[in-house]
């Protein structure tokens, strides 16, 4: 059902040295249902990852995205797979948004062959180059210049596409971001810097890490927009606006006001540096999925039961993917030595006991 429905974004946009997009957006029952379904799937996937971690099937770092779903979904709704996305370690949902599968996600998280990086990357290093997803980066801030480099390549190749480089409020203070922004502005690169401001960098509240936590203004001479990142329509509208802007005028910053429900990673209970009231307040008043649920009801698009059924379906999809992923074998030991290089020139590479384990690189 594609009947147009006109709605307003939750809040007006606030801008820095640029126009503001309109608050009025058009949607349809179909789009509303899609947003609900996609976000519910992400939510469920992350909850499941949490359990898998607790049962020790996922190891190391694991950063969950629940609460921030509207950013990934709204952004995808505004762009195509020819546009590029690059993000940090909190990358499961971004990958899913780009068309990655649950099976790839869970296989990667459990270090199996079926993972999107064949089990070699892990939670922080998801990629899907064929639909413009360039990772999954573990070093805070690094993905921003990398994303500007993708934008450079798009412009160099005259592709008329743009790159969205996502980073956190903590990352927003990184010097390399300012370096890359200056170069992007000098060269008019179609780079959109998306600050996912979830208000904490690990245990540090934004104002403790930034003298000026108005991240949409931090580009100084680069335009910026502040966006309600819990409202998928605001995100979509802002990303559309930004893409047009970037193709014409070069870089722009989007600050997405969002929230992560989980702790920073699995070792962080997420409750020492913020109150439980704060978290439940956001859940009650700003949750991106609940917002869509309400809109669906308001426009009589589906019943409570129908939405619950969808959520059950999502849960089932997730459970099935996990079951399948568990069947995916561990990588073959020979994979230890593959992909070090594209071209290995037949030289030798070594294992810990080099007299016992060595391989000739292809």
């Amino acid at each position: 059902d594609s009947t147009p429905i006109t709605i307003e974004t939750s809040l007006p946009f606030t801008s820095h040295v640029c126009d503001v997009p309109s608050r009025t957006v058009e949607t349809s029952p179909k789009e509303l249902m899609k947003f609900f379904r996609d976000m519910a799937l992400m939510r469920r996937m992350e909850i499941a990852a949490d359990s898998l971690y607790k049962s020790k099937l996922i190891r190391g770092f694991c950063h969950l995205y629940d609460g921030q779903e509207a950013v990934a979904i709204g952004m995808e709704a505004a762009i195509t797979k020819k546009d590029c996305i690059i993000t940090a370690y909190r990358d499961h949902c971004t990958f899913l948004g780009r068309g990655g599968t649950l099976l790839q996600v869970f296989s990667e998280l459990m270090g199996r062959q079926g993972g999107c990086s064949k089990g070699k990357g892990g939670s922080m290093h998801f990629y899907k180059k064929d639909s413009g997803f360039y990772g999954g980066h573990g070093i805070v801030g690094a993905q921003v210049p990398l994303g500007c480099g993708l934008a450079f390549a798009q412009k160099y190749s005259k592709d008329e596409t743009v790159t969205f480089a996502l980073y956190g409020d903590g990352a927003a203070n990184q010097g390399q971001l300012f370096e890359a922004l200056n170069i992007s502005a000098l060269w008019d690169l179609p780079a959109i810097l998306v600050c996912e401001n979830n208000h904490y960098g690990m245990g540090t509240a934004e104002w403790r890490a930034a003298k000026s936590p108005a991240y949409y203004k931090r580009g100084d001479y680069v335009p910026g927009l502040k966006v309600d990142g819990m409202d998928v329509f605001a995100v979509k509208q802002a990303c559309k606006f930004a893409k047009e802007h970037a193709l014409k005028n070069g870089p722009i910053i989007l600050e997405m006001d969002t929230y992560r429900y989980h702790g920073h990673s699995m070792s962080d209970p997420g409750s020492t540096y913020r109150t439980r009231d704060e978290i439940s307040g956001v859940r009650q008043e700003r949750d991106p999925i609940e917002r869509i649920r309400k809109l669906i009801f308001a426009h009589d698009i589906a019943t409570e039961k129908e939405l619950k059924d969808i959520e059950k379906e999502m849960r089932k999809e997730v459970d099935e993917a996990i079951a399948q992923a568990k069947e995916s074998p561990m990588p073959d030991p020979s994979e230890l030595f593959t992909n070090v290089y594209v071209k290995g020139y037949g030289v030798e590479s070594y294992g810990p006991d080099r007299k016992e384990v060595r391989a000739v690189l292809p």
Binding site: G60, R208, P333
Partner: protein, 336 residues
């Protein structure tokens, strides 16, 4: 009595801060969060926000600030959440810290400690698992320490903080929670270990095994296994990668005539290569078998558990290499 490495580090910081008002801590999450790995737990409460400083995630900036404060005469202890992130600040560690005393002919010394977990942890993938021991210890002007036990951690961290030169202090996340027996002496607030001296953890006569950090534990376990097969290994805990205690290593090899080096880092230009070269230079004639290097695999760290296990030395790798070295007493060519 027992003490965890975490407590050893925490108490060393605490005591040195209490002894010298010029000592202060800075880094990400060292204060209110009590440290990403809780090494700085309780110190903000005790010493206040003027001496325990939470920084933004901007390693180049805060490291430069730390080094500048050391120029002035303060004694900063800079925590890297892990040493992987020290690469963002490495120019300050090398060019601003290590070289200043030399370039200024002694005017600007730099009493600073850079500390944090180094090398492989568990399941954290390629960007979070690198060992920086060989890199930093290549650079004159730096001192590079790598504790294994709680005694090491406590004694070496105190030494590092008191030292007038820049010290890179490489911890290991997987050791933080481990308990070690410690003597009463170690509990004393004056306790301190000498920089530049290795420790013979286990005496032996048949083969020398050098290791540092977590690998010391593996070497000791390998030595137990070897003992059962009649091979009596001497295990050297390097403690200091720079200065490297070449004297202790060579003395040992002159006794055992065989050498294995163990490390988790990449093999090429590693600590093992240096030790091998140092022994060939000083004690070539004493070597009865080729030196065996056991090191991290020559690949970025994979995530999958089975591959990760293959990528770092295991006890059996050390045992196997040791046996190879011991069963071969005549140079290869002669027997070929």
């Amino acid at each position: 009595e027992q003490m965890t490495v975490r407590d050893a580090l925490n108490s060393a910081l605490d005591e040195e801060m209490s002894a010298d008002p010029k000592v202060f801590l800075m880094g990400e999450e060292v204060g209110e969060y009590q440290g990403a790995y809780k090494i700085t737990k309780g110190l903000l409460d005790k010493y206040g926000p003027e001496r325990v400083l939470d920084t933004p995630i901007t390693e180049a900036g805060f490291t430069g600030i730390g080094v500048g404060a050391a120029y002035y005469g303060l004694k900063p202890v800079v925590e890297f959440m892990t040493f992987n992130f020290s690469m963002q600040a490495i120019d300050h560690i090398i060019n601003s810290a290590a070289k200043s005393n030399y370039m200024s002919a002694g005017q600007i010394n730099v009493p600073i400690v850079f500390r944090g977990p180094n090398g492989a942890a568990a399941g954290v993938g390629a960007q979070h698992s690198q060992c920086y021991a060989a890199w930093f210890a290549a650079v004159p002007g730096l001192k590079v320490l790598a504790p294994y036990s709680s005694e090491d951690a406590r004694g070496l961290l105190k030494a590092a903080i008191r030292d007038p030169d820049p010290v890179v202090f490489l911890e290991n996340e997987l050791l933080y929670g481990e308990s070690f027996p410690v003597s009463a002496e170690v509990f004393d607030s004056s306790f301190c270990l000498p920089i530049g001296k290795a420790k013979i953890e286990r005496e032996g006569k048949d083969i020398t095994i050098t290791a540092f950090s977590k690998m010391v534990g593996y070497a000791l376990q390998a030595a137990e296994i070897l003992a059962k097969e009649g091979i009596n290994a001497e295990v050297i805990n390097l403690r200091s990668i720079r200065p490297l205690d070449r004297a202790t290593i060579n003395t040992s090899v002159r006794k055992t005539n065989r050498l294995i080096t163990v490390e988790e880092g990449f093999p090429q230009h590693g600590v093992g290569a240096e030790i091998c070269a140092s022994v060939v230079e000083e004690s070539f004639g004493y070597l009865d078998a080729p030196v065996e290097r056991v090191a991290g695999a020559d690949v970025p760290m994979p995530y999958a558990a089975n591959l990760e296990r293959l990528a770092v030395p295991q006890i059996e790798d050390i045992v196997r290499a040791a046996k190879r070295a011991c069963y071969r007493s005549v140079p290869l060519a002669a027997s070929a």
